[in-house]
Amino acid sequence: MQDPESRAQRMIALCMLGCVLFNFPVLALFNVSESVFGVPVLYAYIFIAWALLIALMAWVAEKRG
């Protein structure tokens, strides 16, 4: 059961999670000159974290109320 109120709270929580993931100091941890599968770590991190965040948002938004 997901009422509008709890969905709103989950969305706000995801926004906060995003603010942490895409900000200092977490970003700085990945700002190193190494690469995973040939892709610089920072670039790989940003796109993977971004995709993860979108997946979570889709999950919260589409879950039947």
């Binding site: 995003g18 690469s35 670039y43 940003i46 938004a61």
Partner: protein, 922 residues
Amino acid sequence: MLQGWVIVLTSFAYLGLLFAIAFYADQRADAGRSIIASPYVYSLSLAVYATAWTFYGSVGRAASDGVGFLPIYIGPTLMIALWWVVMRKILRISKQNRITSLADFIASRYGKSALLGGVVTVIAVIGILPYISLQLKAISSSFTIVLQYPQIIMPGKVDAVPVLQDTAFWVALILAAFTIAFGTRHLDAAEHHEGMVAAIAFESLVKLLAFLAVGAFVTFGIYNGFGDLFGRAAGDPKLNAMMTPLDGVAGGYASWVWLTILSMMAIMFLPRQFQVTVIENVNEKHLNKAIWLFPLYMLAINIFVLPIAFGGLLHFPEGTVDADTFVLTLPMSEKQELLALLVFIGGLSAATGMVIVETIALSTMVCNDLVMPVLLRLQRLRLNERSDLTGLLLGIRRGAIVGILLLGYLYFRLAGEAYALVSIGLISFAAVAQFAPVVLGGIFWKGGTRLGALAGLSAGFAVWLYTLLLPALARSDWLPIRFIEDGPFGIALLKPLELFGLTGLDQITHAMIWSMLANIGAYLAVSVWGTRSADEHRQASLFVDVFGQAGEAGGARFWRGTASVPDLYNVLARFLGSAGADSAFNDYAGARGLTWPSDPLIADADFVHFVEVQLAGAIGAASARIMIASVVKEEALTLDEVRAIVDEASQVVAYSHRLEQKSRELEAATTELRAANERLKELDRLKDEFVSTVTHELRTPLTSIRAFSEILREDPNVDAAQRRKFLEIITKETERLTRLINQVLDLSKIESGKADWQELRVDMREVISDTVSAMDQLCQERGIQIETRVPERVPPVSGDVDRIIQVMLNLLSNAVKFCEAGRGRIEIALSERGGRLRVDVRDNGPGISAEDQAIIFDKFRQAGDTLTNKPQGTGLGLHICRHIIAHHGGELWVESRPGAGACFSFTLPIQPADAIVLPAAA
């Protein structure tokens, strides 16, 4: 194949295709089978956010500072997570108030202020000009470049070209014509442009596909996948630094954070985003899908930005090719003509989509919130008397579209050269971010006032002008460059890029800090220290409480006055045409089960409000207010009255809550009453039974008294011994009768609570010894032994000593009665446990069966067969005893087995507070 005519023809064919899509969508909408009523189309239309900036500019930005282009897309992703809270509210407000644009929204929130709407419009138009110039620049330069194929030559300085030979100028004019054809063919009361939305959604698909195609070509065609591409870039000493792009950039993280915040605001408050997200929304539920589909679109269109940027940097010798054109020049340099053409069309899609929606949104604002309020106020024009104004409205909008595009072109000529695409766009972002405080404050905080909003917007906009727009003009030599370098009049503290000596930040971060400080500060300060008018109070309540009682009741309850239906019809017909007015009136009548015009309509508050909202859909809230005021006689509500109505709404909520509670209480009371009634009926039945039992019990001794008296009276020959025996029986029966009557009286006194109880300290040891001595004589006569086991000292209990003795006597006499003469043994024990005294009276009589144990404490119930083997006594004794013990807070019960004697026990609570142990009595 990339000759000039091919490119021009393809471009026009593409625009024609868009037009066909729009036309088809409009046809379908008119037929009631909308093709845009889908969350997927809605999500794609939101992607109008991705413009030429995204298509060409992101690569340019990435080529200079790596990840610097990403906050522009991550910010919106974060903001969209909040849409469930924020955008849902804005959508609801806009639907209820028929909001037509961002300016209308803000004006409507702050008391339908025409002045505020005008200010917002001016800020939006000026603020967006750089952004429109960016699109013109992108289209014209991509066209110029693609024309040079197979050579790759950067376009020359634009100011060297006369206006009439400048591609950008013609692009502006063609786009204006196209937008006019698109967005202002007819006037829609709801400001829905279904055709436009369908075309925009299609363009979003085209630009995404084009970008993915070129990205895949660069990554997998020119290079061997991501690993190869990044590996080579890392090997290049110049590019190696960009693998850790957040190092060493001055204020790297600060600029990242501010860009994120800036784009969070932009996704909400860019006029075109507000248009597609709010105005063109047909169903609130579409938000659920858009919340994740739109961020996914942004992710997809950004995946290949870095590969293309690195590919371009590796591919071209340094400085020969502008990084903003890599998307186009890479396929060209590899002789991929078709791909280059596709890229050109993709870029065209991105730019035209933005220009069309942006100018339509801005032209609506200019018309509804800037021009119309002024025209309507000018009495000389006598606009109020003209019968059909739809032509005028369309004319104003068409003029606004041409004007805005030409102004955009002017900005391009003035300042477009000095900056890269992204930097131009960010100036516009910073301008629309100024709307954030008044809109967000306006929907969550009732305290914001019209003057506060005006002050905040003006202050923020002034700082924006000073720190972003003027420097941009100065860089392009339209203002002396000394203005930037030394500050105005040589005052270093006022240098526009280092205001008040704030250094070490990039230009956008610097401008955002100062403008937001000024904006929010002025908005809060003026609001908090100012006062609100009745209109502002009403609108604040309608907006902030849109999900509550106030929102549902709507604005009608705030209106008082008189109006006539024909007047209202005429005013509506003037702006919507008679067909529009007819259909609106029919809707209104239909909703009330009437038909128009055969049934009379009443021009009450609801109706006037309905007409005003319809009108607001066409000309904006502020203008609609003026028009309605001109045809109806209104009584202005005072601030106190508005407050009272707002309070009333909350009182109604409180009342209904209280009503619900009352009805719940009532239900509970009814249940209780029913139970009470049942109990009363039961008591009534018991009373009848009691009366009949008492009568029966009284008749038995009376019958024997009467029988023996009659014998004595009628037979004088009864001998003396016989006579004596008869008289003894009569005396005994009379005693029994007296006892019975006494007990019945006693019982009724106890049961009705009228008994006289004395509360004294009682020592149970004394009670037991007194009872035993009273019964001593009787026991000796019958040869029954009594044994008492009493502790040395016990705490006293509180109670009526006579009543407790009565209980003891009753139990003891019962025991004596049932014991066999000569062999009887009675044991009395007193003990103390758990704060209670317990008395046991045990006999060795015949015992009591389990069934009898259940009833012996009831009235007139005795063990054994009452008819054949009736024991002596009234059958009230134990019942009274139980009442007495219960009154003292104790319990009375029996334990027995047939043949093994009976043990009657009772407990009494020990007197609490001053429980003094009495000295052992003699």
